[in-house]
Structure formats: structure tokens, C-alpha cells
């Protein structure tokens, strides 16, 4: 079983990159990969609960994230430096594990492939 890490670093709703990453992550899980998701940079805004995406005719990112557990994708991480620089605390977000940069390096080093690192 391959270990695949998907990195989401774009803010939700400004473009479709995060959504495309989630679609790929779900397919990977369906193909029996061991999937992890890492949110960093403006991508951390994807983790805010109670998003009113219907107001702009979009699929709510938070709803898609909730569906991930149905695909047995339970390894969700957030960059703690990105949180600090944006003044967001962990309790503001959906359940997710914070990782500092050193821990992110370790996580990346244990993966077979990293997908969307520069998206």
C-alpha cells in the first residue's frame, strides 16, 4: 500500500485547486492508498467550520472534509506556523492535528509521493 500525502495550500473558494486535490485524495483512498492531507498557507481556511458556501453556489469545503472519513481518510494535518501567522487557533478549526515544520519534514519523508505541493 502506497502512502500518498496531498497538500492543500490555496484558500477555498478563490479557485478550484483545493477541491481538485480533495477529489484526487478520495480517488486515491478508493484505490487503497494510505492517504494523508496537509493544510498549509491559506489552505488552512478550508478547515473553518460552518462555511456558507451555498451563498456563492459552491460546494462547502467543510462538508467535503466531513465526508473524508467515509473514505477512511483520517490523517488530517495543519501547519502550525500557518495558523500562528494568520491568528487562527486550533480550536477554531475542524478536528485536525497540528504539525510544525520539522514534523512536516518527517511526515513528507515517510511518503511514497506528495501531491499538489506547489498548487
Amino acid at each position: 500500500m502506497k502512502r500518498l500525502l496531498f497538500i492543500i495550500s490555496a484558500a477555498p473558494y478563490s479557485n478550484k485547486r483545493g477541491t481538485a486535490q480533495l477529489d484526487a485524495a478520495m480517488v486515491a483512498a478508493a484505490f487503497d492508498a494510505e492517504v494523508s492531507l496537509m493544510f498549509s498557507g491559506d489552505g488552512i481556511y478550508s478547515l473553518l467550520p460552518n462555511q456558507s458556501a451555498h451563498a456563492i453556489d459552491q460546494r462547502a469545503f467543510s462538508k467535503v472534509l466531513e465526508a473524508l472519513s467515509d473514505y477512511e481518510v483520517n490523517q488530517l494535518y495543519v501547519c502550525s506556523e500557518s495558523l500562528a501567522s494568520r491568528g487562527i487557533v486550533l480550536s477554531d478549526l475542524m478536528p485536525v492535528q497540528p504539525l510544525d515544520l520539522a514534523a512536516q519534514r518527517t511526515l513528507i519523508a515517510t511518503q511514497d509521493a506528495v501531491i499538489g505541493a506547489a498548487l
Binding site: 502506497k2 500518498l4 478550484k16 485547486r17 481538485a20 477529489d23 484526487a24 480517488v27 486515491a28 478508493a30 484505490f31 492508498a33 511514497d112 509521493a113 501531491i115 499538489g116 505541493a117 506547489a118 498548487l119
Partner: protein, 129 residues
């Protein structure tokens, strides 16, 4: 070594296509194998058949065609592709559109082909937007 590449950027906006083509040619010339290039997101526009390269500019479609002749599979994500109008004959018929638009060297495949490719490859290299 066996590589799978992914191209995420549109031609003429991003340089991801040029970078991927350059990498693929260099790798092949050194005896490596490029099993598949997977086009995802705006990258699917590389497969648009009706592109006309202006004089003096890179003819990316021709470069992709040369890679295909060397056994590189050019795989366009069907979900990303059809919503951007990249249709093969089958999808043209299914959605009753006036023409098909996928260039001959390319094929439409499911996102699962990307994952399967990554699982089989020695290295997966992504060329972002």
C-alpha cells in the same frame, strides 16, 4: 527508472508543459522510462486538438506527439477534461456536442489512472500551474 509525470498548468499561461516536456526528453535520453504524463486541472488543455502554434513559438502539441511516439502515454483526466470541453469521440456522442476536441496522441482516462500510475512508478513528479 520509471517516472510518472503530472501537468497541472494550462498551455500559454503556465510553463508546466514546457518543463514537463524538457524533463521527459532529458530522462528518456538518459535511458529512463516515462510511463505516463497525467494531465489534471487546467493541464488538460494541452490535449486540445485545435491549438495553432504561432510562428516562432513552441509547438507544444507537436512536442507531446513526439513523446507519445516514444511510448509515453498521454493521459487526460476525464473529469477535468470534459468540463473544459476536451472530448473524445465517445464523449462527444454521449453529450451530443458538435465536435470532438481531443488530440490523437492523447486519451481520456479516469483519475484512478493517476493513482495507479503513482503506485507503479519509481518516481512521481508534478509540474504545477
Amino acid at each position: 527508472m520509471n517516472f510518472v509525470l503530472a501537468v497541472h498548468g494550462a498551455p500559454h499561461n503556465s510553463n508546466s508543459g514546457e518543463h514537463a516536456i524538457g524533463f521527459a526528453n532529458a530522462a528518456i535520453s538518459q535511458g529512463h522510462r516515462i510511463e505516463r504524463v497525467f494531465f489534471y486541472h487546467d493541464g488538460v488543455l494541452h490535449g486540445l486538438n485545435s491549438q495553432v502554434a504561432p510562428q516562432g513559438e513552441n509547438d507544444l502539441l507537436a512536442s507531446w506527439g513526439k513523446l507519445a511516439e516514444q511510448g509515453v502515454e498521454l493521459a487526460v483526466c476525464i473529469a477535468s477534461g470534459i468540463k473544459r470541453g476536451i472530448l473524445n469521440q465517445q464523449e462527444q456522442a454521449r453529450y451530443e456536442k458538435s465536435s470532438h476536441t481531443l488530440a490523437p496522441a492523447f486519451e481520456l482516462v479516469g483519475l484512478g489512472q493517476l493513482i495507479a500510475g503513482i503506485q507503479n512508478a519509481d518516481r512521481y513528479i508534478e509540474f504545477p500551474r
